[in-house]
């Protein structure tokens, strides 16, 4: 397990490889579908200091407000591939060092990770309660008009666990599993199945 403090730097991120298990500490920014479209089309400046050398988390949490303070109830990852059209640009524009999500991302994001020094970090999908427990404070929320699942939640995390599945050296566990399982699929499709 490697501890990564946020904000981080390029050298630290480039030292990570696929398979490394990581514990994140510091401030992260939740951003998903509406947020990514907004970042690429509007390029909002107020997000720059929050994202530079830090990490985006693909997440639409369940939150609750008590008096005037927000709390995270549940915060597991959403499926990242939906942000594939935007992520490379977000990494470039905001100098993001990591993207947390589930299910992996594609070739364009992998290339941006290689070019700019970033990694994809897989959090275990459905483990929303455990992941919320690592969130010590909701520091701020932006664009609440997107609705609570789609807003930019700025949270402080302590020992948020995730695994590097796409690194800054062009390696992707997702690409490997997809290719290996494709071979297995082709064998099954072409053989005589014995099914009527």
């Amino acid at each position: 397990m490697r501890r990564i403090d946020l904000p981080t730097d390029e050298a630290t991120i480039r030292s990570l490889h696929v398979g490394d298990e990581v514990l994140l500490n510091g401030t992260i920014v939740m951003a998903r579908d509406a947020g990514h479209k907004y970042m690429v089309s509007q390029k909002p400046k107020d997000l720059e200091p929050l994202l530079k050398n830090s990490v985006i988390y693909h997440c639409g949490p369940i939150v609750k407000k008590v008096k005037d303070k927000w709390y995270m109830v549940c915060a597991g990852p959403t499926t990242s591939i939906r942000e594939e059209p935007y992520e490379a640009d977000v990494i470039r524009l905001y100098q993001v060092r990591g993207v947390i999500g589930k299910g992996g991302m594609g070739a364009k994001t992998l290339q941006a990770c290689r070019e700019y020094g970033a990694v994809y970090l897989h959090a275990t999908g459905g483990c929303a309660a455990e992941l919320a427990c690592t969130m010590t404070e909701v520091l701020d929320v932006k664009k609440l008009e997107f609705g609570t699942p789609e807003a930019f939640w700025i949270v402080s995390v302590k020992d948020f666990p995730c695994t590097v599945t796409m690194d800054s050296h062009g390696e992707s566990l997702h690409a490997k599993v997809e290719a290996d399982s494709k071979k297995a699929l082709e064998n099954l499709l072409h053989r005589r199945t014995g099914v009527q």
Binding site: A184, L188, Q196
Partner: protein, 292 residues
């Protein structure tokens, strides 16, 4: 039972479905954990899933932040009034959202506005089925968006898969669907299949299979055989939990059939994530009983 009492019980049904993973699913995850290689990412994934499930149950926290669409199948005494029950369900859902058992998940696709309480056009999804019994049976499932995106509908024959209009063709479609999903639907999933029907009924019937317990048996011998074969072969794809690579890619395969039009042969695949959140409530007189 009066409306207020009913609403209270419906709220409890929603709470249980959201926070308490059914025992048959828990058992399948434990088996999945045992099967994976020590030190592998797949083993770690199962370990994290099991510990988070335990935390949710103990603390009453939702299992997943995506509480999805609420799919209800309600069996009711033939002739009983349904509209008041619909209203009670809607009030319970709004209350559950306010109490953070549910995430507000109903978004207007044109304006982008979230309704805030899970109610909206087509939400919730209610199916009422009359029966001869005097009791009411509510089956609720929380069907998340990530898994929903991994659903797919095929038309046979499908040349690219070499799939003809027969069970071998169905077999090939299901394998293809599982391969396409990789880990994105939160594997290991439960693959729910509807053979036949129309575009809408075929998929609805596939989704209804998600209510079946993992260890149940299909009374149709052809479909039972196909379920067993697909469970084995889908797992041989080696996609594993979260798509990390591993021995357990699917927890179960459940198949139903509907009569079809001669011109159509749909194979509808609905993907259910590992966090299969279903719960049942039976109301008999003033008493409510919950089971999963």
């Amino acid at each position: 039972m009066n409306a207020r009492e009913l609403e209270k019980h419906l709220l409890e049904l929603i709470r249980r479905a959201s926070t308490d993973l059914p025992p048959d699913v828990q058992a399948a995850l434990e088996e999945g954990y045992r099967r994976e290689t020590a030190g592998s990412p797949a083993k770690t994934a199962f370990k994290t899933m099991l510990s988070s499930v335990d935390l949710s149950r103990r603390e009453g926290l939702p299992l997943c932040q995506d509480t999805g669409a609420l799919v209800w199948h309600i069996q009711y005494p033939d002739g009983a009034e349904i509209l008041p029950v619909e209203k009670a369900i809607e009030r319970a859902i709004a209350r559950a959202t306010d109490m953070s058992y549910l995430r507000p998940n109903a978004v207007d696709p044109v304006t982008g506005k979230n309704s805030g309480n899970n109610l909206g056009l087509g939400s919730p999804i209610l199916h009422f089925h009359p029966w001869r019994k005097k009791t009411w049976q509510f089956d609720l499932m929380l069907k998340g968006g990530g898994s929903e995106n991994c659903g797919i509908q095929y038309k046979l024959p499908e040349g690219s898969l070499g799939a003809d209009r027969d069970l071998d063709g169905v077999y090939k479609c299901v394998l293809d669907a599982v391969w396409r999903a990789q880990g994105k639907g939160c594997a290991p999933g439960v693959i729910c299949v509807g053979i036949g029907g129309n575009r809408d009924t075929g998929m609805a019937e596939a989704k209804r299979q998600a209510f079946r317990k993992l260890d149940d048996a299909n009374p149709d011998p052809d479909l039972a055989g196909l379920e067993k074969k697909l469970l084995k072969d889908c797992n041989s794809l080696g996609i594993g939990p979260m798509g990390y690579g591993g021995r357990t890619t699917v927890l179960g395969v459940k198949i139903a059939k509907l009569h079809r039009l001669p011109a159509c042969y749909f194979v509808s695949v609905s993907y259910l994530c590992w966090s299969a959140r279903r719960c049942q409530m039976t109301i008999s007189g003033e008493k409510a009983r919950y089971s999963s």
